[in-house]
Subunit: 624 residues, 2 copies
């Protein structure tokens, strides 16, 4: 390829320059994907005109200071069209042509197949469709209600992803919260991965759906630069979110691909790339930047972080850990960066304790768990410290969002109440029995499962400063407070609640099964069997040293009891920690091994084989 011609434009480009810029974006999308041997050039080409107009003339963004809190936000929900966004980064001068062409999709490089926040101009990782708009809702909530800075949140969506229910959860919440600062642009190129989309170019139907969900729908020819410009100039509504439906052609700008099926996710062979570049007018090297935020925009108020006074509990008093969650969260609210969200069950999770004191920092997301997690991610983009709560079972609804939050390296805190068969009469649909496995498997996550109110409160406080996805599992019922107010708790720790030199077996539990383990130890000691008891409140990271000590001290005889299915939970954490210890293990693993029904907590714990008498029996059996 010939050396590109250089030209530079600073400030707001005229429409003719924008037209050229759009062609450059197409050319660079073709070049980068052909060079990489993979990628999605045609999905990039359909949206090139819209993005060129947006970035050159409307997006208020200081590319030299991506952390400026007055910057608009650009969320690229159709992340597979990464050649386009990376070509923009080149056009604004923050990525070089060499990196674009030779770094794209290569090992160790930051221009990955789908954008992630390893790039400073990317708020959230995308690539699992239907997540950019829900994430954008979170950022827009921050802008309107917390930062109170008039930045706009622009979300670039594909048309295929409008089939994801999460998009409609997002629009529903965006209109409920009057997010006039949220503007989605849907690239309606009518072709999905394997053929036409459901709705094709039926923009009327898209518009009806959007309007019915309370957003303003605007239809535009997505290849008419002037029309796009007019629409974007008027994109911010007074009261409602706006959805711009851009009618486009996939592969636009090149006659061999424009509106042609069969080119999704396929780089052009080299000769075809040459033809495409020629038809697109050859290489360009425009440098174009749009407006920056006006200097007189308000900036967010500084965060206040006073000393937190946690609630304290009397030893032996019966307090549910979910109750302690709410009380600790309310105490943490003294920090002005702490925000809370709930999926319409705040009177069960007790996040209502926070909501009552800090209604301005509480967001009711109603029964939409995907949006619940996405809003937390969006709030974290703006530096807030979100705590999102619902029943532990229902975080399974948002697992893809939690997984993606980890890829976004978002710092979010999740609190799931009503875990395990302990919940009793409500039955299995409400029992989280796989949540520990699910949360442990999230990259970089922290998984905490306190057994009493003191530890719950302390761990909530610790979560506020944890990186990544952290998860707190709370229990429905009230159980005795085990620890005094000065007892420290930290992720990675554990507590040894019973210990003697005569210990011959180790009992490990967390949450309700710790209480069962303690009861079992009391029974066993009366029989002359000394049992070590470990409160494994930090399931990930796990306190391997304490576990190894216990295994060594008790001849490898261990009973792990958990109110969870057998796979991936407490026992997995214990076995992983002890897998290279050289101590022969005799582990009895008590867990929920069949589908539970309704009943009282004690009936169900007993039926599942995880109550004290089963622990006693397992310990006896190990010592036989």
């Amino acid at each position: 390829m010939a050396t590109p011609v250089s030209e530079s434009t600073v400030g707001t480009a005229d429409l003719e320059t924008v037209r050229e810029l759009a062609q450059q974006l197409r050319v660079d999308s073709v070049r980068s994907s052909t060079s990489a041997g993979s990628g999605h050039p045609t999905s990039s080409m359909s949206a090139a005109d819209v993005l060129a107009v947006l970035v050159a003339r409307h997006l208020r963004y200081d590319w030299d200071n991506p952390a400026d809190p007055a910057n608009d936000h650009l969320i690229f929900s159709k992340g597979h069209a990464s050649p386009l966004i990376y070509s923009i980064f080149k056009a604004v001068g923050v990525v070089g042509d060499d990196e674009l062409i030779n770094g794209y999709r290569r090992f160790g490089e930051r221009l990955q197949g789908h954008p992630t926040p390893v790039l400073p101009w990317v708020d959230v990782a995308t690539g699992s469709l239907g997540q950019g708009l829900p994430d954008g809702v979170g950022v827009a909530l921050a802008g309107k209600y917390l930062d109170k800075v008039p930045y706009r949140v622009w979300v670039i969506c594909g048309d295929s992803e409008m089939a994801e229910g999460s998009v409609w959860e997002a629009l529903d919440k965006a209109s409920y919260y009057n997010l006039s600062n949220l503007i989605a642009i849907v690239d309606v190129n009518r072709l999905g991965q394997r053929g036409p989309t459901e709705l094709g170019w039926d923009l009327d139907t898209y518009a009806r759906r959007v309007e019915s969900f309370g957003a303003r729908a605007v239809v535009v020819d997505g290849h008419d630069i002037a029309a796009i410009d007019a629409v974007l100039a008027d994109a911010e509504d007074v009261t409602r979110p706006t959805v711009i439906l851009a009618r486009t052609r996939k592969g636009e700008g090149f006659s061999e691909t424009a509106d042609v099926e069969g080119w999704h996710g396929k780089p052009f062979p080299a000769d075809m790339a040459d033809r495409a570049i020629a038809e697109l007018g050859g290489l360009r090297d425009l440098r174009v930047r749009g407006p920056v935020p006006p200097a007189d925009l308000p900036r967010p108020a500084p965060v206040e972080r006073p000393v937190i006074t946690l609630p304290t509990y009397d030893l032996g008093a019966k307090v549910a850990t979910r109750r302690a969650y709410g009380q600790a969260l309310a105490a943490l609210g003294a920090r002005t960066d702490v925000v809370a969200l709930d999926a319409e069950v705040s009177n069960s999770t007790y996040s209502e304790d926070f909501a009552k004191i800090y209604p301005d920092r509480f967001f009711e997301i109603f029964i939409a768990e995907q949006q619940l997690v996405a809003a937390a991610v969006g709030l974290s983009v703006r530096g807030y410290v979100p705590f999102a709560s619902t029943f532990a079972a229902f975080f399974s609804r948002a697992y893809d969002f939690i997984r993606m939050a980890a890829i976004s390296q978002a710092d979010i805190r999740l609190s799931g109440s009503h875990a395990g068969v302990e919940i009793g009469a409500d039955g299995p649909s409400q029992m989280a029995l796989e949540d520990i496995a699910m949360m442990r498997a999230v990259g970089g996550s922290t998984v905490l499962y306190p057994s009493d109110a003191t530890s719950a409160a302390k761990l909530v406080e610790a979560m506020a400063d944890l990186p990544g996805v952290s998860y707190l599992r709370t229990t429905r019922g009230a159980y005795p407070v085990l620890y005094g107010p000065d007892e420290p708790f930290a992720p990675g720790g554990s507590k040894v609640l019973r210990r003697s030199n005569a210990d011959t077996v180790t009992l490990i539990g967390a949450g309700v099964t710790l209480h069962e383990s303690l009861a079992a130890a009391d029974t066993l000691v009366a029989e002359g069997i000394a049992a070590r008891v470990i409160d494994l409140y930090s399931v990930k990271p796990v306190d391997a040293a304490t576990l190894a000590d216990a295994a060594q001290a008790t001849g490898g005889r261990i009973v792990v009891t958990e109110d969870h299915y057998p796979e991936g939970g407490l026992a997995s954490a214990v076995l992983e920690a002890l897998s290279d210890g050289g101590v022969p293990l005799s582990v009895r693993h008590l867990a929920v091994r069949s589908l539970p029904g309704s009943g009282t907590s004690q009936e169900l714990l007993d039926a599942a084989g995880i109550s004290a008498r089963h622990i006693v029996e397992a310990a006896r059996d190990l010592l036989r």
Copy 2:
């Protein structure tokens, strides 16, 4: 409480009887929940009139033969209102008053807190909101396109659950597939768990949303028996799904609770229950049944199950397991009960191989993974053998549906392609790295991870007859065929690919890491180190005996390598199996331990520390 008055009505009741029936349903909802000490009487009372009319006059259902394929289906999506549906079961005479009052929510009883298919009249478990309608889409697809029987699918929804995106995925697919046999009734009682719903009684907005998604919206006063009757008589549309929006009052029929906040999920105290029953006109013991399906309705064609001829592969030929999935699925298609579904990536998962031959039994769900799994559940209700496929990472979008499928005891098969860092350049958003943990933790699940085309094809065939949720993890790239066509594979099995009496270390892998383990063994043997190599293609259930043999034979020295995050995957399965063996273990666990980026498969396997050279190094280290 006094002995109820007995009265019996057979056939189609008149409206006055229906009015009485509705009051009986309310009374019985109050009685059962008060007796249980938990439950949702007010959520039951709001929908009592609608349900009374439906069951007494419109639902075509032979209560003595719930398996009749001509029966209508009644899916109770607002499962928390279980007192209502159980009161109906009493009213039609299939559950006794004693069971209703003294069995509800009790241990060991079938009238659980939320309905599950332990009851023969319940198709699917509900209680996680927003799932009944997506499940109903699956049943309606079966009725219209496979059974070709004109039964109707009635889904009773709450208004709070309309905030779940899955509801809109369902309506979108219902209209796309012209499911005129699907009728949703939304009980718009305007009060959620902790207060008013988002939309309250704004039925116009609900109607606009429903219509924009292609369904017919009908608004009715949900307490006007005659109006409800007229609407239900006309409920089935010619071409479109129908959504009946019933304006109701929560707690209706009792002045202390009708449209009163604060009574969600609360049984009435005994004295209040007495007042409620008195105001509702006292106890009744009506026995009311509605119409049964006409005898002349068509019945589904009998299933044809010819002998299946699986594809075969040449040893050493490079074939992707996802490719083998598609080919085996196409071969299985000779069975007329096998159906396939995909989320718009059938050209990547290779379910297109099936779609091309059996287009009438293939359902394109587009990019809506929750609906993908729910449709499979619905199809399984009618006895079909659904295989649903998408990228492995994107099943995380549907985890709550998969969890609930297990509670429904649905037999569904999921195939996730593009697992792990092996996928290469697309980056982490497309890499399933937590799917094995997620799928293993599903109650009663089977998790299969073949390494070659032969085993993949055989396991696909085995899945067709597996109960519960089964999951096949397939790999993007093509790797050598390891097994001849006569090699048997079954869930719970494994293969020992290298074995000698001199083995001093065991290498365990599955999928791509098995090939890396084999390469490592070849290197090691050249150094004089004999390594046993196990293909752990069945991750759940796991072949504990073979693992124990290997651990014993190789002095507990084991290298487990997996293209997955460290938690809950292959190593967890291995450690659980060996946790009570008495052999001291020295396990090296090679897994993906940091966030990957883009690159080639080999670069990423190597960077993650799960390539052959790392396995060699770990084995050497164990033997040092």
